[in-house]
């Protein structure tokens, strides 16, 4: 797959696969192209070549809202909450699609079970939440859309280690509940602990790929790409 | 051969031109069966109420006159140019009419500003111009043989009539005046103040101004209220004056209100409903637009027949004037005789005395020392939702004409 912004291609010859029911990791330093890749999947950037298949069907070139309708849901980098709306309203907007709205009550309760903190903050404006709470809300909001594939872009960004741990715990629970996950991170340790397959992105190309176990043993890769 | 024939032809042409001055051939714009009359007025832009009305009225008159056989066997034909209420376009229109269309005369149906721009040119071209509407003093002052004003009258005359009416009929001395800041509105206020002082030694209690487009007059009206007048004189256009009067009543001003001629119109009554009752104002034609006067009924019916898809609010005052003034022109053409020249036509116009086509007009008089056709204005009052004439006529002689007597 090839993709980019305007006339510039940022991603070249990407081949990446996320197995149904698995957690896949996407690692890479600043500016490697992780966000670009994720935005391409969601239909927010221009895909200039290749194919993106979801459950066997091509989705490249589709409008973002149609991709959402298929159950491919993104938690964008930097949370991108609706800061002036309440926590509850943010969650409600997560289930904006007709299909998701039907199961609104049940999903809402499920999300509050994943993140009990959100229950306490229900009426608060999203912009006033702490960083960790905001990330919880962003994931919760995505869960409201009843994803089949949940894509997270640097969920650990700017958070304290303890919070990061609890967020990754929830991701595991979500995955255990049957939802496929793709998580992009600079924080390699956390991903290697959580994901099964991992791809390493470097200057818009896949530099390496393999299981977490393989990568965890390959110290050269860790040193040169992941800064561990 | 060809060259000789060409020369011969030009000699004949020159001879013909020379002989025309000895009145063998007819005057410019006059043929055996037609007299060409050039007109201009705004039928696009912001003052279409004036041009559209004036034009439709004139067309009706021409149609009637021609159907009755024309004047001395000649039909009258109007060539109309849109001037968009712009002085430069009006001048261009008049030049085109005179130089290209070679009309016999001009009948101006535009406003003051566009008309004033054409005066100098007409004077120099020695083309008779009968100005139907424009009230600017420059049209008739200083006196000039070629320019006549028909329907409107000079602002000074409004001042005289207002002052005399206040003192003689209403017998009020405590007057408050609100006027628009625009030239013609302000001048009417100025003239009224001047004459009130000169004739009666009365000074207005207060004067304040407003702008076109103003929607709220409370500040000015509170000043009026404070001065506690016996009469409020509101000089403006219909949209502003409508709001002004309504707000005056809201603020508890119960005094009589006189409006300027520019708002003596049925729209004012539509806008104000019961608040219009008792309003006073000057009307520059004969019977009012919706009156049952037989002449007006006849005019309305003829007008409606010719303008079947007419918008509401028409015919208006300008339709009436467009119509009545063409009849004044026709009257002078009749007097001038079959052997028509521009100079004879002017002489004939100067003989017109107390002429009107019917009771929808006021009488017109011109002399060889003034060309102000109309000094008569009727005081109107709103009764039961209609403008009706008030039984009052001025007694004092107008000083307007004194300026022209040598």
């Amino acid at each position: 797959m090839v993709a980019g912004y305007g006339p510039v291609d940022v991603l070249h010859d990407i081949t990446l696969e996320v197995k149904d029911g698995a957690i896949a990791g996407l690692l890479g330093p600043n500016g490697a192209g992780k966000s670009t890749l994720i935005k391409s999947i969601s239909g927010l950037t221009r895909v200039t070549g290749g194919q993106i298949l979801f459950e066997g069907k091509p989705i490249q070139g589709m409008a973002p809202e149609d991709i959402v309708a298929l159950g491919v849901i993104q938690v964008p980098q930097g949370r991108m909450l609706f800061p002036e709306l309440s926590v509850e309203d943010n969650l409600e907007l997560g289930s904006y699609r007709q299909a998701a709205r039907k199961a609104y009550r049940a999903t809402f309760e499920l999300v509050e079970e994943y993140f009990p903190r959100l229950r306490e903050r229900r009426q608060q404006r999203a912009g006033l939440l702490s960083g960790g709470e905001q990330q919880m809300l962003a994931i919760g909001r995505a869960m409201m859309a009843q994803p089949r594939l949940l894509i997270l872009d640097e969920p650990s960004l700017g958070l304290a280690p303890l919070i990061i741990d609890s967020i990754f715990d929830v991701l595991k629970r979500i995955n255990a509940d049957g939802i496929t996950i793709l998580v992009a991170e600079q924080n390699a340790m956390k991903v290697l602990q959580t994901a099964e397959n991992v791809y390493v992105l470097e200057n818009g190309r896949i530099a390496h790929s393999g299981t977490s176990a393989q990568l965890a043993q390959d110290t050269t890769i860790q040193r040169s790409y992941l800064g561990i | 051969m060809r060259a000789i024939r060409k020369t011969l032809r030009s000699i004949v042409a020159v001879a013909a031109m020379l002989s025309s001055s000895t009145a063998i051939a007819a005057e410019v714009g006059v043929t055996d069966d037609t007299i060409l009359i050039g007109s201009h007025g705004p039928i696009t832009g912001g003052a279409t109420f004036l041009g559209l009305g004036g034009k439709a009225g004139a067309e009706l008159a021409y149609k009637e006159i021609n159907e009755a056989g024309g004047i001395h066997g000649r039909k009258l034909k109007m060539i109309f140019e849109d001037d968009g209420f712009s002085p430069s376009r009006a001048l261009a229109a008049v030049k085109k009419l005179v130089e290209q269309d070679k009309v016999f005369m001009i009948n101006g149906i535009s406003g003051s500003n566009p008309t004033v721009g054409t005066i100098e040119y007409l004077r120099q071209a020695k083309v008779p111009a009968y100005i139907t509407i424009a009230s600017a003093p420059a049209v008739t002052n200083p006196f000039n043989r070629y320019l006549f004003r028909g329907a409107t009258t000079e602002t000074v005359r409004f001042g005289e009539l207002n002052a005399e009416f206040f003192n003689d009929f209403l017998q009020v001395k405590r007057v408050a005046i609100l006027s628009g800041v625009e030239e013609n509105l302000k001048t009417e206020g100025d003239e009224t103040v001047k004459i009130l002082n000169k004739w009666y030694g009365v000074k207005p209690l207060m004067r304040a101004e407003f702008k076109v487009g103003d929607k709220d007059f409370t500040p000015q009206l509170l000043q009026v209220k404070q001065s506690n007048p016996e009469l409020l004189f509101a000089i403006g256009q219909v949209p502003e004056v409508s709001i002004l009067i309504r707000q005056a009543r809201e603020l508890g001003l119960r005094q009589p209100i006189m409006v300027a001629p520019s708002s003596v119109d049925n729209t004012l009554i539509t806008n104000l409903g019961p608040n219009a009752e008792g309003l006073l104002g000057l009307w520059g034609a004969g019977a009012f637009l919706d009156s049952g006067n037989p002449d007006m009924v006849k005019f309305r019916e003829a007008w409606a027949k010719m303008n079947p898809n007419a918008p509401k609010g028409r015919p208006n005052l300008f339709d009436v004037w467009g119509y009545t003034e063409v009849y004044v022109i026709a009257e002078a053409l009749k007097k001038a005789g079959r052997d028509l020249t521009r100079e004879k036509f002017i002489d004939a116009l100067e003989q017109v005395k107390d002429y009107r086509v019917s009771e929808i007009a006021t009488p017109r008089t011109f002399t060889n020392w003034h060309h102000i056709g109309n000094l008569t204005q009727q005081i109107m009052i709103v009764v039961a939702g209609h403008w009706v004439p008030l039984k009052w006529s001025p007694l004092r002689e107008s000083e307007v004409l004194a300026n022209y007597k040598k």
Binding site: L93 | T44, L52, K215, E250, G273, N275, K312
Partner: protein, 292 residues
């Protein structure tokens, strides 16, 4: 000034203030929702009034039907305007969009002048020529209706934004367009809807104003007052606009009384300059980062 004059001034000031608030709200809504600063908003006020005039005079409908139909018609016009004229400019430089809206305004204004040449300049409402007398004070019920109706519609709009999912989606798009897209919100539809609502708000101002001030293409000048109201309110909230409009309405009318009628308009702009110098984010606005 007596007590009854004072009350009348307050009532009149509040009513013109609520008109300013409606105009300002339309501006803020379009700007927050789509990033467009719509300089045609004033002409849309006039357009609404003319459409109402058309339904009332030409079609001959009663006031209430005129009211509803005009709001619907102008909402559709606003939507079409977004689709056909503004959507193609999405992503164009700010200045281009501003010029485009100015051009739309000029076109509307001239089209109105050309297409309506009848002398009648107002349409009737059930409250025409009535006068409320409360304890010897005359109050024009139109004023009460203007204020009440504006407040009611703004209240309904506030409820719509607070309670309705589509209303929330409109806010979401305003606060973060790409996040809204990621929620599956069809942003283009929300843009269309936002302009439909803001156009209908302009038309509402036009309809409400008409029985008091009459219809004219020059009604469009009210955009300046709308701007002042919106800026006073911080240019970002419904409530801010409302308070900004009411303050302006009152200051203007009392300013006129104390400094003279011809200085009325100046009052508004002196106030605007003052606010911009002293509190550039309006009375309620905070120095929030601008949306990018």
């Amino acid at each position: 000034m007596g007590f009854s004059d004072f009350v009348q001034l307050v009532v009149a000031g509040l009513s013109s203030g609520s008109i300013y608030a409606l105009v300002g709200l339309g501006l803020v809504l379009a700007n927050k929702g789509t990033g467009i600063l719509n300089f045609a908003q004033g002409e849309l006020v006039a357009l609404g009034a003319y459409i109402a005039l058309f339904y009332s005079i030409v079609v001959g409908l009663p006031y209430w039907q005129v009211f509803i139909l005009t709001l619907l018609t102008t909402a559709i016009i606003g939507g079409i305007m977004e689709r056909a004229l503004l959507r193609p400019l999405l992503g164009a430089p700010h200045f281009t969009v501003v010029v485009a809206t100015l051009a739309i305004g000029l076109i509307i204004k001239n089209a109105l002048r050309i297409s309506w040449q009848e002398a009648v300049s107002t349409f009737s409402s059930p409250l025409d020529h009535l006068m409320l007398q409360i304890g010897g004070i005359n109050i024009n019920p139109q004023y009460a209706w203007i204020t009440g109706c504006s407040l009611a519609i703004m209240g309904m709009l506030a409820l719509f934004f607070r309670k309705n999912l589509v209303g929330k989606a409109m806010q979401a798009v305003a606060q973060n367009t790409s996040a809204a897209q990621l929620m599956g919100i069809r942003v283009s539809r929300i843009f269309t809807l936002t302009l439909a609502v803001s156009t209908a708000l302009a038309a509402l101002a036009g309809i409400l104003m008409t029985p008091v001030v009459g219809v004219s293409a020059e009604m469009s000048n009210v955009i300046l007052k709308g701007f002042v109201a919106a800026i006073l309110g911080g240019f970002n909230s419904l409530f801010g606009c409302l308070i900004g409009g009411l303050i302006l309405g009152l200051l203007e009318i009392f300013g006129g009384v104390y400094f003279g009628g011809l200085f009325k308009d100046i009052t508004a702009f002196v106030l605007l300059m003052f606010i911009l110098l002293v509190r550039p984010h309006g009375i309620f606005g905070t120095a929030e980062a601008r949306r990018v």
